[in-house]
Symmetry: C2
Subunit: 771 residues, 2 copies
């Protein structure tokens, strides 16, 4: 029955969408360059929403480590591109957006003219290698389109992409020595030995296939590819840079360096030679697969069965417009750019991780079939559970359900029987702490949006939360906290486990699983065990139950917190703000404490060794540039001064998000920073995913229509919107006064209208007393 | 129609076989220890006919190369076992039989007691590692069964196998410290860096899965495994010997060395701990797959769904008896041991290379489905085209057809569009010269045995033979010979290409492909282009058409020949002996030349740097220990002195094959040496595979019944057989006098009887004049 009804409903909803909603051109507001300077860690290249291919220029490819030692400079290159750089090494096919650690940069392609050079060369001397100087004046970045002139080679490079295929279009000068270089050693967060194996076949004079295996952030990763040329090369070759070390056997009988169609090794670069006429375009289709070269070829044939570059660009931008139209806003020009670039960044991941036939590689390295869902990977969950996935519950619920199904598949394949921590191309990279797949799942269950088996998802959550050998969980389960002498970042872990456990308890309650509800409700209270009433801060405790003696609540280094200080992290009890506030001295004292956070000063020395925190992301001592504080400005809503939430979030929006290349106050973290922007700009925010409530704040836009997948529209109307009118004077939901500090999920999903009346002074009587 | 008839015929033939042929116990004559001393390169462990798993002890695991330099001592360890050694390192699951270069030794398991030691230790100090001393007195080797007492650990080790699963049975003493070590770094022809990646999961306390990737003789090779224990281990762990170099990322949050269920890296050893009672047996099932760990698990479940070690052994030995009964001989005891051990060695390869569901990894590294055939790998074709595959045309025609189909699949997957040279686990290792898949195919076509598409096979052969960049073929095609100044071993290549080309011509003629027939008939004559009439030898020619000046026809080093000297290799025109004999001065002079070959002396200096040739394999200057001479003793049949073939082959049988551990005069070469024995002992030999004729010689057995797959029996009856009666006095086929020096394939396959009447003196008038 369900199977019969669903497609009809889907069809109906698509029809109603198509009939009633004209698609507005919003792509024009997106500036993919935002965040490419300083520490935004975004990339400017071509990709489609949630696409598997991210085809983007890499401006440097400096190594992650040299002789086993970490190279600090690499941190700037998490997404391969730094706006200050003067050269482009080439264009590679995979990039993370905004992450604070990195990997990928697979299959770098560089078109060149003149003498063949297989080394990338240096920024100081680009002519010493295949890289090229460029200027931003000759550069265009749009959704699904990137263009740049490569000055050293007099080549115009254009890039576009479908989901699984990157398309290159290179306009050459007249040259008898035109080359396309395929660098199979290059990569992001590269190091000597990272590429464990490469296998390449020149199938014919326009088709290459192969794969590359790496040992990086993803420990055991393989990417398969197929590469098609629009024009036959007249000769080709490769160089193995590990020649001296590699066992050659009877392959020595061949000269494998030139026109030999099969090469393999650890350090390979290949080239393909052409003769070009002035203005001649050589196009490349480069498809990826997590499964096989067969899969990569099938992906290419299915997605781009032609050579029409403009069509691929057009279809890619249409795909973007469709997604951007999920929220149609009216706002000032800069705000429009900020908003749609945030939307764009929010839809860059998690990324598709399966072939067109539904096959994908699982955590067990076996090939699996995704039945009835799209398999996604690259879940940066410590970041994205906070606002990105809650945003998806509104504007991408179908995809969010598939993401949960992908997490459950991950769980099924995990030898640990754990949900993903940071799911990364058939790998778990274990980045950061907690088990924050749980709030993503709980959020869908509690909001009534789950089309997965909620009981199975609960079981997976419980099993994950009981994995004793995971990151101090044994102590946490036995003692009620993680002891700092046994496991570092102990307070952060305790606080985040407690929140995740609350999510499990909520689900269990809803699903009538009383024993689980009780067990995890108890665990959810563990935040109390690391609260030091004397100092008024969360503080690391030792396994003997005493507080760690040396303690500086300002310092982010070695104080029991990860990427944060106690000042910020002590406020991390998103599931029980009222309880926390009472514990910390009551509403008034707490509001003053928050005020101090935003107004005090945090000297550099307190965070200079913490990569994810920089001066650009700090307001007072409030660290917006990293995730643990993202809910903090909303906590005033639980005091008697909710208008301060309104003021603070407007201030943060202005300070931390600018329509400039250096416009992001920190790593975008796969859309979490951007999702914070979108929610806050619209006037509400999910402080505790796993509840169905959104804390209300002051919108930064004039109006917005949220075009829901269910065919309904939720409208945000902001009266008297001005920069200085940051305070809500009056609030109406569907024409009736709204007197609480939150919206519920169903109020949004049912469609309707919320009207904000704005003023330059707070209406301190607006809301009923906070809970 | 064909589809309906075939199964019926097969059924009928199976029924007739079952009804009329009692299975004799012939396993008892097989001694797997033969060839394990000196250079036979055989292994004594457990395997089934053409089995994927070869579970066998490795007595040392010294590296192939150290710092990029070849280590000569490794050559003794091609099969992992040397009979003179005093210790056993452990038991690994893959071994080549008799090869002259090597690889494999995957997944070495060592049971130990006492203090855990993860290093193998040294032969001089076995107590310094996990290896153990042993004595041959405590060792038993039978088909599909191997047993040894590991003295250092007081453990009785027993091994057996099904096609894809090795089964271990270890009888422990009472111990609180019993260990099973799984060494994932160990291997045959190992070197630092050979293991490119290893991935392991401890699925539960009795099941491990994973895979290992190596860069060895097979350049890009992955073997997947599943390992099940009969008893749960109480703890486990691993050590990563490349720890310092490996990027760890966020895996650092775990102690991965103990009871952590997922490990990966380049240099891993794992251990599993037990407490055992006196005499307690711990059994292991270890299955392999070329496809996936899922495949390995499915193979285990399908082949050994129980823990009955004796049943696996019994079924393995029954499988061997079934194959050995293909030829039931009567002979002296030593001859029986030699004969059935040769049969055993002949059926050790090519090996199965697919899962129970027909999936296998192809040359393109994609997973393929074998439809209607068993996919085989490990074709050592330069060796085995000579006698092993011709033997299969008689006693294993169904398998030989599947082997050809495997070669055609290889061709389809090859980016070079070449038939296999040395097909090796989804790899082409390119070992040796020529394209000797062609004679295997031609042999089946010309004998009317092909159930593959002969025209497609011909096209594949032609395409292979026209691959200009392969090993001097461009020169060969342009000049009619390979010039030594352009491509070494030029004379060997020219001679072998010419023979392979004749095979193509024969097929083309039969298939009415006139143009191909003409092209390749012409190429088949190229042997003439390297014959130097002045010296009377084949001799390297330079690209300017002159002979290479320095020339010593005795020397095997750098004279234009591979693993042979001109004296032996000059006689390599198997497809045109009469023409060659005329070219070399006529029958009388040629017979004298042959006499010289067998009676002259070849000083050590002429072969001391040629690995595949040793004193043990030489008679005079005749090198039986390596393949190029294998047809030579039969060439007397083309002179007027065919009785010398009879005397020489009987002499070679005695001199080169002994029922002792050092009984083989050279590498068994995956059954080629053994197939020579079988043919020669039965009284006939395929001098030119691709013709349907077998040259007749003096049998060494008293009688033989060849039980054919078609249900017929060909009987060899030898009257007056004695050691001294090496000469055929009279010959009858089905009761009628046979007066030619050859039998045809159909005469054998039609069933019937050949009767040899033997005497101590030659009957010089027996045969009509040679052709």
């Amino acid at each position: 029955m369900r199977n019969l009804v669903l497609p009809f409903l889907l069809l109906a909803s698509i029809l109603s969408f198509a009939q009633t909603r004209p698609v507005v051109n919003l792509v024009k507001y997106v500036n993919p360059m935002i965040g490419t300077a300083k520490m935004g860690h975004t990339y400017p290249g071509a990709t489609v929403p949630f696409g598997m291919v991210q085809l983007s220029p890499d401006t440097d490819t400096i190594p992650y480590e040299v002789n086993g030692k970490y190279n600090k400079d690499v941190y700037k290159y998490c997404a391969g591109y730094q706006h200050d750089d003067k050269t482009i090494v080439g264009f590679s096919h995979t990039h993370f957006s905004g992450t604070g650690h990195s990997d990928l940069g697979d299959f770098l392609i560089a078109p060149t003219t003149g003498k063949l050079q297989l080394n990338p060369g240096t920024e100081a001397k680009p002519e010493s290698g295949y890289r090229s100087a460029f200027t931003h004046a000759n550069e265009v970045a749009e959704p699904a389109y990137y263009k740049v002139k490569l000055d050293d080679h007099n080549i115009l490079a254009e890039l576009t992409a479908s989901n699984r295929v990157g398309m290159h279009q290179y306009t050459f000068p007249k040259s008898d020595e035109a080359h396309i270089i395929l660098d199979l050693m290059s990569g992001i967060y590269n190091y000597d030995g990272k590429t464990t194996w490469t296998f390449v076949r020149v199938e014919n004079d326009t088709l290459i296939t192969g794969y590359r295996q790496t040992n990086g952030w993803a420990r055991t990763r393989t990417v398969y590819f197929a590469m098609a040329f629009s024009k036959p090369f007249h000769q080709y070759g490769n160089k193995d840079y590990s020649e001296a070390q590699v066992y050659k056997g009877f392959w020595r009988k061949f000269d494998q360096t030139k026109n030999f169609p099969e090469f393999a090794g650890k350090k390979l670069r290949a080239y393909f030679d052409f003769k070009t006429e002035e203005g001649e375009k050589i196009k490349i289709k480069f498809s990826l697969s997590p499964v096989s070269t067969e899969g990569a070829l099938a992906n290419m044939r299915a997605e781009i069965p032609h050579w029409d570059f403009d069509r691929v660009k057009r279809e890619g931008q249409a795909a973007w417009n469709k997604e951007l139209n999920k929220v149609v806003v009216d706002a000032g020009k800069d705000d429009l750019v900020n908003f749609y670039t945030a939307m764009y960044h929010s839809f860059l991941g998690p990324t598709t991780y399966m072939d067109v036939d539904g096959k994908y590689r699982g955590l067990d390295m076996n090939v699996h079939q995704a039945n009835g869902f799209t398999n996604y990977s690259s879940f940066s969950l410590w970041d994205t559970y906070r606002a990105l996935h809650p945003l998806f519950t509104i504007v991408q619920p179908a995809r969010n359900n598939d993401m949960v199904k992908s997490m459950l598949a991950h769980y099924d394949q995990s030898v640990h029987k754990m949900l993903p921590v940071w799911s990364h191309h058939a790998n778990e990279n274990w980045c950061m702490i907690g088990y924050h797949a749980v709030p993503v799942i709980a959020d869908m269950v509690m909001k009534g949006m789950a089309d997965f088996d909620a009981n199975r998802a609960l079981d997976a959550s419980v099993q994950t939360a009981r994995t004793r050998y995971y990151d101090g969980l044994d102590y946490y389960m036995d003692l009620g906290f993680v002891p700092e002498d046994k496991n570092g970042s102990s307070v952060s872990k305790t606080l985040e486990y407690a929140y995740d456990d609350w999510c499990i308890a909520q689900m269990a309650k809803k699903l009538n699983r009383q024993d689980i509800y009780e067990e995890f409700s108890k665990r959810a209270q563990n935040f109390k065990n690391v609260y030091d009433a004397q100092s008024g801060f969360m503080r690391p405790k030792l396994s003997d139950g005493t507080w760690k003696k040396e303690f500086d609540p300002l310092d982010t280094h070695g104080q029991g917190f990860i990427e944060g200080n106690s000042w910020n992290y002590s406020l991390y009890v998103p599931h029980a703000p009222a309880q926390m506030i009472a514990m910390m001295g009551g509403k008034l004292q707490f509001a003053q404490h928050l005020d101090s956070l935003f107004t005090m000063e945090l000297p550099d020395k307190y965070f200079e060794n913490t990569e994810d925190i920089s001066r650009d992301g700090i307001i007072g001592n409030y660290v917006h540039g990293n995730e643990p504080s993202h809910h903090i400005a909303y906590l005033y809503n639980w005091t008697d001064q909710p208008w301060k939430t309104q003021q603070r979030t407007r201030m943060v929006l202005k300070a931390m998000y600018k329509p400039t290349v250096d416009g992001l106050g920190g790593n975008d973290d796969f859309g979490q920073m951007s999702a914070w922007y979108i929610f806050s700009a619209l006037g509400f925010y999910p402080v505790a995913p796993g509840s169905d409530q959104y804390a209300i704040t002051s919108p930064a836009i004039r109006s917005a229509s949220i075009n829901l997948e269910n065919g309904k529209t939720f409208t945000i109307d902001v009266k008297n919107q001005k920069d200085k009118n940051v305070y809500i004077q009056k609030l109406e939901l569907n024409g009736r006064p709204l007197t609480r500090t939150y919206l519920t999920h169903s109020e949004i999903m049912n469609g309707g209208k919320i009207t904000f009346y704005m003023a330059a002074k707070p209406n301190t009587k607006l809301f009923a007393k906070a809970p």
